[in-house]
């Protein structure tokens, strides 16, 4: 009796667990955070990853707990001592152990106890190795069935019913969501800086920050003292792509790919670009040693 119930329980809970695993996965493409939180996607992605592990652990933990409770009740009601023959008769096994751990282990594996294993001994013998023919552990079978069911739902979900988006669509959704979130955030801040509204910052703090941004990102090509190495000299009055703060802002943001100047818009925020542009302007005319020859047009400030 007990055994049948347990078997059934294991199977259904295994399936339930797998469905739990499948749901966040299926939902992934459609799930829209809508919370206005700018880093939501990454978090969501992580959360889903963790949810998977958590769900799996939870199923195992619940199962373990259930077995412990059943074992305990049986020990307390004295049944285990009397030997629950009704449940074990089916496999023709007499349980003599009273320890409920053994009992639990037995239930989990449906194994014939070691001292009675002759009953499932096969006539196979290879170089002294013999083989028992214990049943497949019920939880293992349940796991196997569950993974097969999961697979059917997974394939059908992605490729027949379209419950979840395939990767290109998923990408478009991700980008669209992020754009909406960023636009909302920018609107709440009163619009973003751009080349037409950017201004030169004079305060010390902004220039100091501009300097540190410059040192972290720009020195490899423009030199620590802006003298120019791979890239042009930035400490003179000559500018290839315009010398106004708006021009410099635009050059940094969009880059000049054909000449090797990369676009920094993915790496520096508009505020950071404003600060580093201001720093560069503040360094004009410093005449560093080993300066590269002037390039471009002279710009009068």
């Amino acid at each position: 009796m007990m055994k049948q119930i347990l078997n059934r329980y294991i199977k259904t809970s295994g399936l339930a667990g797998l469905v739990m695993l499948a749901v966040p996965l299926m939902a992934k493409g459609q799930a829209s955070s809508g919370s206005g939180n700018a880093v939501a996607f990454t978090e969501e992605e992580l959360l889903l990853g963790f949810a998977l592990f958590l769900a799996a652990t939870l199923v195992i933990a619940v199962l373990g707990l259930l077995f412990a409770v059943i074992g305990l009740t049986r020990v307390m009601s004295g049944k285990a001592l009397i030997n629950p023959a009704s449940g074990l008769e089916e496999s023709g096994v007499q349980a003599e152990e009273s320890s409920f751990w053994k009992d639990i282990k037995q239930k989990l594996t449906d194994a014939v106890p070691v001292d009675q294993e002759e009953k499932v001994m096969t006539d196979h013998e290879y170089d002294g190795i013999r083989e028992l023919d214990n049943s497949l552990p019920p939880w293992w079978k349940a796991l196997f069935y569950a993974t097969i069911v999961f697979s059917v739902f997974y394939l059908a979900g992605y490729h027949v019913f379209g419950w979840a988006e395939l990767q290109d669509a998923e990408y478009n959704t991700e980008v669209a969501e992020a754009k909406a979130r960023i636009d909302a955030y920018m609107a709440s801040k009163g619009g973003a800086l751009n080349e037409s509204n950017v201004t030169y910052l004079e305060d010390e703090a902004a220039l100091a920050e501009g300097k540190s941004i410059f040192n972290a990102n720009c020195t490899a090509c423009h030199g620590a003292e802006l003298q120019g190495t791979v890239g042009p000299n930035l400490a003179d009055e000559y500018w290839i792509h315009g010398g106004s703060v708006g021009d410099i802002f635009k050059t940094i943001r969009d880059g000049v790919p054909s000449k090797g100047m990369i676009s920094w818009k993915a790496q520096l925020s508009p505020e950071q670009i404003q600060k580093v542009s201001s720093y560069i302007i503040s360094m004009e005319g410093t005449n560093p040693p080993n300066a590269k020859d002037p390039q471009g047009e002279i710009f009068e400030r």
């Binding site: 990454t42 294993e117 023919d133 990767q167 490899a220």
Partner: protein, 735 residues
């Protein structure tokens, strides 16, 4: 079920045959040879791994010598531990157990010897050629075509010897270990041959027969199943022999053996595409990779359960016996790795883990835990027996056990941490929608302490292996080697009387040929279902008109990229995530790779992805960066490549390269191979011109120029700048 099993083992000869016993002997000599090779190559392979690990902490460790950069010795490490350490381990265990399970000496001592020496020569050739830069770039299949042929020959020698022994056996039925050996033999043969299709252009240089997406699919079908059929199935066979032997317990469940064997080999072969999730592989193939990986969980655990439950009633022995301790940890590590594998195959987990150190940690739990520990356990059991003595020191063996176990933890935990940390950093955005860590290097420097800790864990593991080697050498010294172990058994009669209540599966256990053919059919299905449509149906790789063949100079640069093993640290696969397209540019499309023989998508980003590197920096940036990476990227852990500035481009092979590529379907115009060298000069001089404008004087025939040409070409074909200048050396493919 009868309880008199042992007596009824061969129920067909209990009458008249009983007295006619064959006397023969088991060949222990070949086992000893392979065991020695296992130990020696094990320590060497792991040491190479340690050096590679340290190079990530101290980038200058190669001492400016081209043969020892990370890119060149990482393949040496993987090949050495897989094919030399585990490979010799497989042969050790198979040659020992097969003879005893078949009650027959190996079919031919000569073939055994050829197998041994041939295999060692192959390994030696790998040790020489990989640091020299002779590589196909395909992971775990880096060895060039002449060595591929040698591997095929040796594998046939091994298979022939094994199969002939099986046919001469004196036991009626084949034990589960032998099913795994046969499955291993046929599958490895298929994998190796299909993945090694390549067109030689010279001695030690060839191009993969497949291109781009198709090459990637074949490669990871191979790569994943190298793990399955070289690191897993043969070792499960060894486990089925050595665990019950060492514990002196019957195998737990015959039913479980049957179902997990067939399920495992059938399902494993499909799972390869899980290495290519969110890549340019068609979605349907990715999904197959996911679900078959998930379905693998139970059959994999079947092996672990059958091993661990065999130890029921013997756990007191586990506390005492070093062999069993190692095997318990091996089985546990196997269980952990085979749980983690399916989880990593889920797309949302893979989105985080792929290209990070998480994968490296995962494979080392499998490699160090399952293969390493099982090998050690097997050697501790074998050597004293073959030397007819007791183990020299149980204390040292126990010490080895703890050092190795702790070593695995010290190795894996920092890398899990590193993988997770780095992936989070890659994916984090600010509220303004900017990458929080836009400079890739920031995410690398974070990991340096973890890399150091990993090297420490690896060093511990090697110390353990050396302790074992000492212990076993001392054991051998204290004993006397039994070269030929006498045995006797009755020959098989021609008639077999099936006895009542026999399991249906016994039928195939009496028929090795059918078993081999059966397993061959089972493993062919998955590969065929995934590959044939990918190769034949055009919509799987949509063509892009603007994608052109590489110019001759770029092709040479690409070969240098392969030679230096750049793909070991740099991927060329921007995945469809906002965090990647913001960082690297447009995500990869299948049609971009149609001329890539071989594909170079990579599997790990120790450095950034470089699919869209072309045009991002000026030529002079690359020049400085290759000469001294830290000059352009302070804190970089990439080594310097000064030899590229001295060595000249090898123009002798240019014509052969173009011709070979055309044979493989790259539409070079008629006669291009004749113009190729002149064309190369034209493009090279434009680059030297650019460099000169930046104050760099370099001759146009140096290898660095070819490499710069290739790097500047990367990913540019689909960039939508209409005003792109048409250079004279750009190739208009033939229609």
């Amino acid at each position: 079920m009868s309880t008199q099993g042992a007596i009824l083992e061969r129920p067909d000869h209990f009458s008249d045959n009983k007295l006619k016993l064959d006397r023969f002997s088991y060949d222990n000599d070949i086992v000893r040879l392979f065991a020695t090779a296992t130990m020696v190559w094990g320590v060497i392979g792991m040491l190479v791994g340690l050096i590679a690990a340290l190079e990530l902490v101290f980038p200058g460790l190669n001492g400016g010598i081209q043969y020892f950069t990370f890119g060149r010795i990482r393949p040496l490490h993987t090949n050495a531990v897989i094919f030399a350490f585990v490979g010799n381990g497989i042969f050790t265990g198979v040659y020992y157990s097969l003879q005893r399970l078949c009650k027959a000496r190996m079919y031919s001592d000569t073939l055994s010897k050829i197998n041994f020496w041939g295999w060692q020569l192959i390994i030696l050739s790998a040790v020489i050629t990989l640091p020299l830069g002779y590589t196909t770039s395909k992971e775990y299949a880096e060895l060039e075509w002449p060595i591929d042929i040698a591997i095929t020959l040796m594998w046939v020698v091994f298979g022939y010897n094994m199969f002939a022994t099986i046919l001469q056996r004196r036991t009626r039925h084949l034990y589960v270990a032998i099913w795994f050996y046969i499955g291993t033999f046929v599958t490895v043969a298929v994998l190796h041959i299909v993945n090694s299709f390549e067109l030689p252009i010279s001695f030690m240089k060839s191009y993969s027969f497949y291109a781009g997406v198709q090459d990637a699919l074949v490669q990871w079908w191979y790569g994943h199943n190298a793990v399955a059929f070289f690191l897993t199935t043969p070792y499960l066979g060894l486990m089925y022999y050595f665990v019950p032997k060492a514990a002196n317990r019957p195998v737990y469940s015959y039913k479980l053996s049957i179902i997990h064997f067939w399920a495992l080999i059938f399902l494993y072969i499909w799972a390869g595409p899980h290495h290519l999730l969110y890549n340019a592989l068609p979605d349907w193939a990715q999904s197959l990779g996911v679900v078959f990986s998930i379905m693998l969980l139970a059959p994999s655990w079947g092996g672990m359960l059958n091993g661990l439950l065999t130890l029921r009633g013997a756990w007191d022995k586990v506390r005492e016996d070093p062999t069993l301790k190692f095997m318990v940890v091996a089985l546990t590590a196997y269980g952990m790795a085979t749980f983690e594998g399916p989880m990593l195959s889920l797309k949302n987990v893979n989105a985080i883990s792929h290209f990070t150190d998480w994968t490296v940690a995962h494979v080392h739990v499998g490699g160090l835990g399952w293969n390493g520990m099982l090998t050690f356990g097997m050697l501790y059991w074998l050597i004293p027996r073959m030397y007819q003595t007791k183990l020299y020191s149980k204390k040292l063996a126990n010490a080895h056990f703890w050092i190795a176990t702790m070593g695995i933890l010290f190795y894996a935990l920092p890398l899990y941490w590193a993988g997770f940390t780095q992936s989070l950093m890659w994916k984090e955005f600010t509220q303004e929608g900017m990458l929080a860590y836009p400079n890739f290097l920031e995410t690398v420097t974070q990991l340096k302490p973890m890399y150091a800790a990993r090297a420490f864990g690896g060093a511990m593991y090697i110390v353990g292996a050396v302790v074992m080697a000492y212990n076993l050498v001392m054991t051998a010294k204290g004993g006397s080697f039994l070269k030929n172990e006498a045995a006797e058994a009755a020959p098989l009669s021609n008639v077999y009387e099936k006895h009542e209540g026999e399991h249906w599966h016994r039928w195939i256990e009496r028929r090795p040929v059918q078993l081999m053919v059966g397993s061959l059919l089972v493993i062919l299905i998955g590969g065929m279902v995934e590959m044939i449509p990918t190769f034949l149906i055009d919509s799987n790789v949509p063509t892009i008109a603007s994608v052109k063949p590489y110019t001759s100079l770029e092709l040479h640069g690409r070969d240098l990229y392969i030679k230096e093993g750049c793909n070991n640290c740099h991927s060329q696969m921007v995945r469809p995530f906002r965090s990647e397209t913001e960082r690297y540019g447009e995500y990869a499309k299948a049609g971009e790779f149609v001329y890539d023989h071989p594909f170079l998508w990579g599997s790990k980003r120790t450095g950034p992805d470089i699919l869209r590197l072309g045009g991002k920096y000026p030529d002079s940036w690359h020049y400085h960066h290759m000469l001294d990476p830290e000059s352009m990227s302070p804190g970089s852990i990439m080594p310097a490549y000064p030899w590229l500035f001295e060595q000249e481009i090898e123009v002798e092979t240019t014509e052969a390269k173009i011709t070979a590529m055309r044979h493989l379907g790259v539409p070079y115009p008629e006669g291009y191979e004749k113009r190729a060298v002149a064309d190369m000069k034209l493009q090279a001089e434009e680059i030297t011109g650019n460099l000169e404008a930046s104050g760099i004087k370099v001759s146009s025939d140096k290898e660095i120029i070819a490499l710069i040409a290739y790097l500047q070409r990367l990913g540019t074909d689909i960039k939508a700048d209409a005003g792109k200048e048409v250079k004279p050396y750009h190739i208009e493919p033939e229609k």
